[in-house]
């Protein structure tokens, strides 16, 4: 192959890689707007109301539903040794934390954005505001929460994972989107439970 053709190939590769680096973080917004127009938020809002079923029949998977960020995803269990693999699949419940049925602090972790999976499960966690409602289905029972605080903390601040006396839900991901250096933390208080 001629050297000029090799150079052209290299140039195309560079443009593709650099283009992906720049464009990939923006793509999820496009899908978010489409889903919002399709009324997904209203549909999820109905799902978190008491009495509504999240699955047509049979046992319901453990899942978290956050209408304001159009999220309806299973909650995955996994050991710390497998944390990278579990997080690549979705939302990971920090095994050192509680579960909704036991009270205390339930901690859920998810990626905001990665280049291998541009639309991370918590990509739109920044759209969640104080007062928003969210729901968790745990062992076939529905738990309703209301967002109490939205903060950014340093990755060294592990107090967000501490046990609490009152039942609450802590969700966190990376922030800012492009060059993450902190954690975006949403804490929600339990409002209603079975």
């Amino acid at each position: 192959m001629k050297l000029s053709r090799v150079n052209n190939l290299l140039l195309v590769l560079i443009i593709l890689i650099d283009g992906y680096i720049v464009v990939a973080p923006l793509l999820p917004n496009l899908f978010f707007n489409i889903q919002q127009h399709q009324g997904k938020r209203q549909a999820l809002q109905k799902l978190i109301q008491p009495g509504s079923k999240t699955a047509p029949s049979g046992p319901q998977p453990n899942q978290v539903i956050i209408p304001s960020m159009l999220l309806d995803q299973p909650v995955l269990e996994g050991t710390v040794a497998n944390q990278y693999k579990t997080l690549d699949k979705g939302i990971w419940r920090w095994p050192g934390s509680s579960t909704p049925d036991k009270g205390g602090n339930t901690v859920l972790i998810g990626h905001r954005f990665t280049y291998t999976n541009p639309r991370g499960v918590f990509y739109f966690l920044n759209k969640v505001k104080v007062g928003d409602e969210l729901g968790i289905v745990w062992n076939n029972k529905k738990y309703e929460y209301k967002v109490a605080t939205v903060n950014e903390v340093s990755p060294k601040d592990t107090t967000i994972e501490d046990a609490t006396a009152q039942p609450e839900l802590t969700l966190f991901t990376c922030t800012p989107l492009w060059l993450p250096k902190d954690r975006l933390v949403v804490v929600a208080d339990l409002e209603a439970h079975p």
């Binding site: 090799v6 290299l10 680096i21 280049y115 060059l179």
Partner: protein, 35 residues
């Protein structure tokens, strides 16, 4: 500029792009999982 010089410049740029992609990818895990 000769084709050979262009080749080396483009090769270095390609390697830098791949390194940037890897660094950005690993940074997300570092912030999320550091304790």
């Amino acid at each position: 500029m000769s084709e050979k010089t262009k080749f080396w410049i483009l090769l270095v740029l390609l390697i830098l792009s791949v390194i940037l992609l890897i660094v950005l990818q690993s940074n997300a895990n570092k912030v999320l999982l550091s304790r």
